[in-house]
């Protein structure tokens, strides 16, 4: 694969990955590093909150700025605090709610996906996560970050992500295709009855 990322001057995102599975942590870490991200991987929601300075023990300000997180990717099913509970806590925090949160799950349960999206998750990925999924996420976050730097208004970044994926996948929720940004060579027979990621528009249009 080689290092085709990280052109000089390209911003490196800092991603916090949360997953209780040792195997999945290693994989997501690699996926993110290949996509030119700094990665901090933790094994639980409570560790994530601790890292983000939300555990009530560490104070915010200086410590947090040094560790600024651009994206949080979390597994849904974890012992103790679930990914959903973590998502809630982040979105309830005035300090952290602007950080995009993506939820991953091996189970394609529509009510679960709905809950997460409604609670403010940017996206919901089905495991096993693919490189195309991660690249799409990082592109999205980078766009938002770059626009902010340039001073231009990123109006409703969430809609932007959904527009990007839904414009070519409006039918995907209905016709069971893989993510529109995955390459053709990546045919995924297991997706015959699932969607890789759900766009709100596609989802609502199917009901």
């Amino acid at each position: 694969m080689g290092s085709d990322c990280c052109s000089s001057g390209a911003q490196e995102l800092h991603v916090l990955a949360v997953d209780d599975s040792l195997v999945d942590r290693k994989v997501i870490e690699r996926l993110l590093k290949i996509s030119c991200c700094k990665v901090t991987a933790v094994e639980s929601g409570s560790m994530a909150l601790q890292y983000l300075g939300l555990d009530g023990e560490t104070s915010n300000a200086v410590g947090f700025d040094a560790l600024k997180v651009n994206l949080i990717v979390t597994d849904y099913s974890m012992p103790g605090m679930t990914g959903f509970e973590l998502l809630k806590k982040i979105k309830e925090s005035s300090k952290l709610k602007e950080i995009p949160v993506v939820v991953m799950s091996s189970e394609n349960i529509l009510t679960r996906i709905d809950r997460c999206l409604e609670e403010g998750a940017e996206d919901f990925l089905l495991k096993p996560v693919k490189l195309a999924d991660v690249k799409r996420l990082t592109d999205f976050v980078l766009k938002g970050t770059v626009s902010k730097k340039n001073g231009s208004d990123v109006k409703n970044p969430k809609r932007k992500l959904l527009d990007d994926s839904s414009s070519s996948s409006a039918d995907s929720a209905l016709s069971s295709q893989s993510s529109p940004l995955s390459s053709d060579s990546e045919s995924s027979p297991r997706l015959s009855s699932t969607h890789r990621c759900i766009s709100k528009r596609a989802r609502f249009s199917s009901t």
Partner: protein, 144 residues
């Protein structure tokens, strides 16, 4: 055996793992994450998989000995194990895991026990095949 022959042999071994249904596309996804800086990534992930699996299988073995069976706990453990299998592309093992979970849902203890033995067999076969495969990968790499 010269390098070309070894490379061919390696390719055949790899192909067989897919053709015979031991591995699925996810394994290829992992291979694509390897590069010169991370040449052993797949083997590293698989090694973590063995470690994780050993722990989960032992837990489930113990849970299966209890009476009455704690189906919720078994299902939960198997859910974790299924996730790991999925992450490395362990197709046949994953299939047995799904069967097991189905029996859990049906609260069918006999079905669970039977399927669990079957799963362990498949796991042992896969582990052996992958160990041989990676050993060969390393030998071929030494020739370069």
């Amino acid at each position: 055996m010269d390098r070309n022959q070894m490379n061919r042999q390696l390719a055949n071994m790899r192909k067989a793992l897919f053709d015979q249904g031991y591995l699925d596309e996810q394994f290829v996804q992992l291979e694509e994450l390897q590069d010169d800086a991370n040449p052993n990534f797949v083997e590293e992930v698989v090694t973590l998989f063995y470690r994780d699996s050993a722990r989960l299988i032992q837990t489930m073995d113990q849970t299966l000995e209890r009476n009455p069976l704690d189906f919720a706990k078994l299902d939960n453990n198997m859910h974790q194990f299924t996730g790991s299998c999925s992450s490395i592309g362990a197709k046949k093992v994953k299939h047995e895991c799904s069967q097991f979970r189905e029996y859990c849902r049906q609260r069918n203890g006999e079905g669970c026990r039977r399927t669990f033995q079957q799963m362990k067999k498949e796991y042992a076969i896969l582990k052996k095949k992958l160990e041989v495969y990676f050993q060969y990968v390393r030998q071929v790499a030494l020739l370069k």
